[in-house]
């Protein structure tokens, strides 16, 4: 296909292969005149720019010359590192050999001479020129009278000869350097004789002649790759052939390429592909041969003129230039294409439509388009590679193996190692060891802190250990309280820098719940108001003692902490405390905060710390979130400060999240699914990296479930199918964490559906939560039908695949939630279920194990099965608010309980049989200038006692409820039974406290009725409620309480917390009153 064309009668030289951009040098031809008989001569350099689709070539430089040329070459010699320059060497008709600097010609600089060397050594026209491919400074030239010179461009003045002149003297028409052996040169003359010279011996070593005397040698070229082979072209019309010789059999030609009908004028052998040999002849044709097979593989579409010079482009192997006697230089491509398309952009210049033909490419693809090697990535970090032997030995008996390698690429060694460790820990359930190892290997203190907190979640007495990690130790404090006061003055507690002296001690005592100590300290310091206030919380006896002391002395002081302890207003603390005191605030929460509020308060504190946006604060916030078990916030906070897009950064995060999740699951004996967009994103990213590293199975376990996000669903689908048959026998994709269930503690009938657990974590009931969905199975799409190609949506079809027949949806993902069996007595919960939630009526369960003041429980009685001490569940079996949530307050202890031993006995013996504190004492509490306004209901709450769960929240809810539906008829019996029970009790009740409780009960049962109206209660709970209702109707309250316990222990606490506690209270009262 014709690409460029210019009107010139000239010899041509392409710039060398290393030269960029491609240039073509044209020197006016000798012995050719046009009709103008113009005899001027010039050397011109054109740029061959193929980004310009026109046929034009841009003239870059021109130099008038005195002589016309018979030959011209462009050599690498003197070429710059940037691939420009080199030397042009022209052989003229009068025997002058001239060396030009093409850069000077192109820059047209006046100060530099473009001619850098000239010699008149030759006596006649120089028709032959060739440069040595190994030493670019060596140039051979041939002229009349058997003259051959070897020129050194470094020392141009004194050429050598390859040996004695051949006799008889004749013209030298061609010289050619061997392409493999650098000291071998061949020359040929029109007589047909070729001579091979060895420059080391300085003599001819072989002469080639076919004795026909008809070879009229116009061209000779060495084989580009085979050292002993060369071709000779004959200009004689009687023998228009190319002979291929092998010097190993130099008696006759190896092959004769016959196709031209008239003498051959020029040949060129592609250096890029030895199977491409060009020839132009007087039959007006340009042919391309495969010299190995002697067949013509291509014929260029040319004009009807002889081409006296054809040249492959050294740099672009698809290009060749041809110089014709009609005065054109044309650049062709052998890759075919449409001429018309080429010239559309130069339509104005196209005079004829004769070029409107499709030019086919070479019949056989040239070597340079045959890709020999490849490496492509595939899903799962697979690399597909193939290679081909460089040059297969000719006619090798062994067939070449044609192999494709499939390899696994893993680049994140450390990531994979850590991921394996995490996976092993998750599967074996050895979380403690895992956390311990993490603590030991932690690179920073902050990292170590986080792992310590995470570890605590797996241990008993987590709350105390949290306190210890925060720097508050009960034992230490006990000792200090016992010491003379003077010694404290010297002891500045390093972990409590903001509280000094007595203040500090009081604070610490309060933070760990040591009322007695705090009161003593207050008294010793003369802080009677505080002492009295504290003693109210500390118990009747302490109160009396304190009051006595107060009567003898009198002083005053205020602290927010005391206020908060007394009023239970922890929101103020977390909202307004100095952030430097976050540890104290968190410690206070751990000690005091109501389980229902604990998580929210921790999160509030964490949120404030996080808001500072410093790394230190965010890590502290992370600790808060770990205490509260808020995975989502932990992820958000962590991701905001730490790099979590790199594999290792992500691994850091995922390790913590999985451990926190496991600790929560351990507490709840069930799986935890967190529907958090950011966590889902991080886990998807994590799974993506695992997949990219080839850990497809592991990746599947981390991929978030229950998602309709296309990206996640596609990855899941891809992972599933990519695992091939291995995945057929596998558990369904979302059997996530299943393996770990067995390693949990003996599971009571307490596992709840994940959906319900979810709600525990949601700050408010998440309306967007969807019931567990099986793996999305998209609609199969039938290929071929038009509908199959409607705008494709994200879901992908697995149809039409011959992949594993088992779809992941074929079994119930996530499994059925283990339904608590009503018949199974929740024995393991017995010790704890008797512990009431919230304030305890004085008559509750005499003789039941007394919940110790936080931290003390382990010293007596059997440990609750799920968590000891601080984790005493709210009667439901579900710890509320997070792993670090504190236990129920100590006040519920019944008055008749035997005084436990231990130093905290004072606290325990305190029995508030009054629900409201005595007015005279409450009043001063109200009178304190507390920083934050106190909610109105605080006056109703005994100081030091926790509020009823979510009193405020619950009271606000009804106001927002606009329309009320009817209670379904089948559940009306519940309302009537319970309402009448409350009414009966109200009639029978005599003391005001009981009446108040019953009033409250009437209100709170409303929440049950609301739930019934919404029909939002689970089947299990409804059954339980009906059973309780039947017991109440038959006045069998004892049985009713048993059923109550069962329901509570097998249900999601958040679902029932609004009404179940009060139901128990009512039944207990009813039992006592005997109504």
């Amino acid at each position: 296909m014709r690409l460029k064309e210019i009107q010139r009668t000239a010899h041509q030289a392409w710039s060398p292969a290393g030269h960029h951009p491609i240039h073509l040098a044209l020197g006016t031809s000798a012995q050719q005149l046009d009709a103008s008989f113009n005899t001027t001569a010039a050397l011109e350099i054109f740029e061959v720019d193929f980004s310009d689709p026109s046929l034009e070539m841009q003239l870059k430089g021109s130099l008038p010359t005195t002589n016309r040329l018979h030959s011209i070459v462009w050599v690498n010699f003197g070429m710059g590192a940037d691939g420009t320059g080199g030397r042009l060497v022209g052989g003229s008709e009068n025997g002058t050999l001239t060396v030009y600097n093409p850069e000077v010609i192109m820059s047209a600089r006046a100060d530099a001479d473009a001619v850098v060397g000239q010699s008149d050594k030759h006596t006649g026209p120089i028709r032959a020129l060739d440069f040595n491919p190994f030493q670019s400074n060596l140039l051979a030239s041939g002229a009349n009278d058997s003259e051959i010179y070897i020129w050194d461009l470094n020392n141009f003045s004194s050429p050598m000869t390859p040996g004695a002149k051949t006799q008889p003297a004749e013209d030298i028409s061609v010289v050619s350097w061997n392409r493999q052996v650098q000291h071998i040169l061949a020359s040929a003359s029109p007589s047909g004789k070729a001579v091979v010279w060895d420059l080391r011996k300085n003599e001819p070593i072989i002469k080639i002649s076919d004795h026909s005397n008809r070879m009229h040698c116009s061209g000779m070229l060495w084989h580009p790759e085979v050292a002993t082979q060369l071709v000779l072209a004959s200009e004689d019309d009687r023998l228009p052939v190319i002979q291929m010789w092998d010097l190993r059999f130099a008696t006759s030609p190896l092959k004769v390429l016959e196709n031209h009908t008239r003498g051959i004028l020029s040949i060129s052998w592609s250096q890029a592909d030895p199977e491409l040999l060009l020839s132009s002849a007087k039959d007006n044709r340009i042919l391309c041969w495969n010299p190995n097979t002697a067949e013509v593989i291509y014929e260029l579409p040319t004009a009807n003129q002889w081409c006296f010079d054809v040249q492959w482009c050294p740099r672009n192997p698809a290009l060749l230039s041809a110089a014709s006697f009609d005065g054109r230089i044309t650049v062709y491509s052998v890759m075919g294409g449409s001429l018309k398309a080429q010239q559309q952009s130069t339509a104005d210049k196209v005079t004829a439509c004769s070029y409107d033909t499709i030019v086919p490419p070479l019949k056989k693809p040239p070597k340079w388009v045959r890709r020999p090697v490849g490496a492509s990535f595939a899903f799962g970090g697979k690399l597909i590679t193939f290679e081909n032997p460089k040059q297969a030995p000719v006619q090798s008996p062994q067939p070449v193996p044609r192999q494709v390698f499939m390899s696994q690429v893993t680049t994140e060694t450390e990531f994979l190692q850590r991921s394996r460790e995490l996976q092993a820990a998750l599967q074996s359930g050895s979380f403690n060891n895992y956390c311990q190892a993490k603590i030991q290997n932690a690179k920073s203190d902050a990292e170590q802190d986080i792992w310590k907190f995470l570890l605590v979640n797996f241990e008993d007495e987590a709350r105390i250990k949290f306190l210890r990690l925060l720097g508050f130790s009960k034992d230490d404090l006990d000792k200090k309280v016992a010491l003379p006061r003077e010694s404290y003055l010297a002891c500045n507690h390093s972990l409590c820098p903001s509280f000094e002296d007595t203040d500090g001690l009081i604070s610490q005592a309060l933070l760990v719940g040591n009322f007695e100590g705090a009161v003593d300290l207050c008294l010793n310091d003369g802080r009677y108001a505080e002492a009295i206030l504290l003693s109210i919380s500390g118990g009747e006896e302490l109160l009396k003692k304190t009051q006595q002391k107060y009567l003898s002395k009198q002083k005053n002081s205020i602290s927010m902490l005391i206020s908060s302890v007394v009023t239970q207003n922890w929101r103020d603390i977390v909202q307004s405390c100095e952030l430097d005191n976050w540890k104290e605030a968190l410690a206070a929460l751990l000690t005091y905060a109501h389980p229902e509020e604990f998580a929210r308060l921790c999160d509030t504190l964490g949120g404030r710390l996080e808001h500072e946006k410093t790394e230190k604060r965010c890590l502290q916030a992370c600790l808060c979130y770990i205490c509260s078990g808020n995975i989502e916030k932990l992820v958000e906070c962590w991701a905001s400060q730490r790099e979590s897009s790199t594999p290792l950064g992500l691994e850091d995060l995922v390790e913590k999240v999985m451990m926190l999740r496991k600790s929560i699951e351990r507490l709840r004996n069930s799986e935890v699914a967190v529907q958090s967009p950011i966590l889902a994103e991080k886990l998807t990213c994590y799974a993506g990296i695992l997949a990219a590293e080839g850990s497809l199975g592991t990746a599947m376990t981390y991929l978030p479930e229950n998602t309709d996000q296309p990206g996640i669903m596609m990855l899941r689908d891809r992972l599933f199918h990519a695992q091939g048959e291995a995945s057929v026998g596998q558990q369904p994709p979302n059997s996530f964490n299943r393996a770990n269930v067995s390693t949990a503690k003996p599971a009571p009938a307490a596992a709840a559906p994940k959906a319900q657990i979810m709600q525990l974590y949601a700050p408010c009931p998440s309306p967007g939560f969807l019931p567990h969905q099986p793996f999305h199975q998209p609609q199969p799409m039938l290929i071929g039908g038009p509908s199959a190609f409607s705008p494709p949506g994200p879901p992908m079809s697995a149809a039409n695949l011959s992949g594993p027949p088992l779809q992941p949806s074929s079994s119930t993902p996530g499994g059925m939630p283990p339904m608590p069996s009503p018949g199974v007595p929740p024995t393991s919960f017995m010790p704890t279920t008797s512990i009431p939630s919230g304030p305890m009526p004085p008559s509750s369960q005499p003789g039941a194990p007394v919940p110790m003041y936080p931290g003390g429980l382990h010293s007596q009685g059997p440990a609750p099965p799920m968590a000891s001490g601080p984790y005493v569940p709210m009667g439901s079996g579900y710890p509320q608010g997070g792993p670090g949530a504190p236990a129920v307050k100590p006040f519920p202890a019944p008055a008749v309980a035997p005084p436990p031993t231990g130093k905290w006995s004072l606290c325990i013996q305190k029995v508030p049989d009054n629900y409201t504190p005595p007015a005279p004492i409450t009043a001063p509490v109200m009178g304190f200038p507390v920083e934050a306004p106190q909610p109105h209901d605080h006056a109703q709450v005994p100081p030091g006692a926790p509020q009823e769960p979510s009193v405020q929240l619950l009271q606000q809810l009804p106001a927002e409820r606009v329309e009320q539906k009817e209670i379904p008829a089948e559940h009306m019996v519940l309302k009537s039974t319970f309402d009448s029970l409350v009414q009966r009790c109200q009639l029978a009740a005599r003391d005001p406290q009981t009446k108040r409780k019953l009033d409250d009960a009437a209100k709170r049962l409303g929440f049950l009725y609301d739930k019934l109206r919404e029909q939002s209660l689970s089947h299990n709970i409804l059954n339980g409620l009906h059973e309780i209702s039947r017991c109440v109707a038959s006045q069998n309250y004892q049985r009713g309480l048993e059923v109550h316990t069962q329901v509570v222990s097998s249900s999601n606490f958040s679902e029932i917390s609004a009404f179940m506690p009060i139901l128990k209270v009512v039944m207990t009262i009813a039992n006592k009153l005997g109504v």
Binding site: V369, R371, V373, G380, Q408
Partner: protein, 320 residues
Amino acid sequence: MVSVINTVDTSHEDMIHDAQMDYYGTRLATCSSDRTVKIFDVRNGGQILVADLRGHEGPVWQVAWAHPMFGNILASCSYDRKVIIWKEDNGSWDKMYEYTGHESSVNSVCWGPYEFGLILACGSSDGAISLLTFTGDQQWDVKKISNAHTIGCNAVSWAPAVVPGSLIDQPSGQKPNYVKRFVSGGCDNLVKLWKEEDGQWKEDQKLEAHSDWVRDVGWAPSIGLPTSTIASCSQDGRVFIWTCDDPAGNTWTPELLHKFNDVVWHVSWSITGNILAVSGGDNKVTLWKESMDGRWACISDVSKGQGAVSTITDTQQTEQ
């Protein structure tokens, strides 16, 4: 580590020119100068010949798998100037469509992202690029960009489907307004970007850095970042990484990955877009990865499917 997990003996009778896994990595398609395309089931380390596709009359240069949502579809292109689209129906593979609109060797085929529907780009030595879009009922719509690369187009690669303006968030529900783009490389030493506007393909960018034929181009998969990345490799031994940060896609910056001593034939991005496999003359296969500070480093030399992997550290980076 790069370790061989399966060696497939293709029994091709001549040089292999391409080997591509399907979307799931369970099937391997190969093509060869012996004019055949072969498909192997390679699940679980096996190598079962599923199909031996004959139809081309010249060396087959490339194969490309369509997204599985369209079924099992494979495209192949050949020196015989044809593009053949093969499809599996009930376990047997047959020609679905044969495109003969090119006048010279078709060097490259690439399926567009599934979001665009079933669309195939073909680059040919005739300098043109064809875009074949399935319109249903066995009909294919053909658009041709003539003279895309003078002397020939060697490679085409699609841009991932992203919506302009919101490169990260893609609204669900309504069909997003994707802009179709692809990159091509050719014998004019150029890398060109093409964009569809109002149903017409237009040259969007012309990237100049190579000094010889561009052998291959690869548009990196989107990893959710607004940066677009393209790798190009050339006869001149150079591999460039082109990046574009501006949403309009107008400013592309080249970074020289490496200058090899031999022609570089092929570049391939990992699925997650963080590793580039470069294959070149002398059977040289190398893997490259971008370090945290944005510099590219060779992490592995792969020979016959085997190789060690070195980790990039910042110190190594500064030493280089």
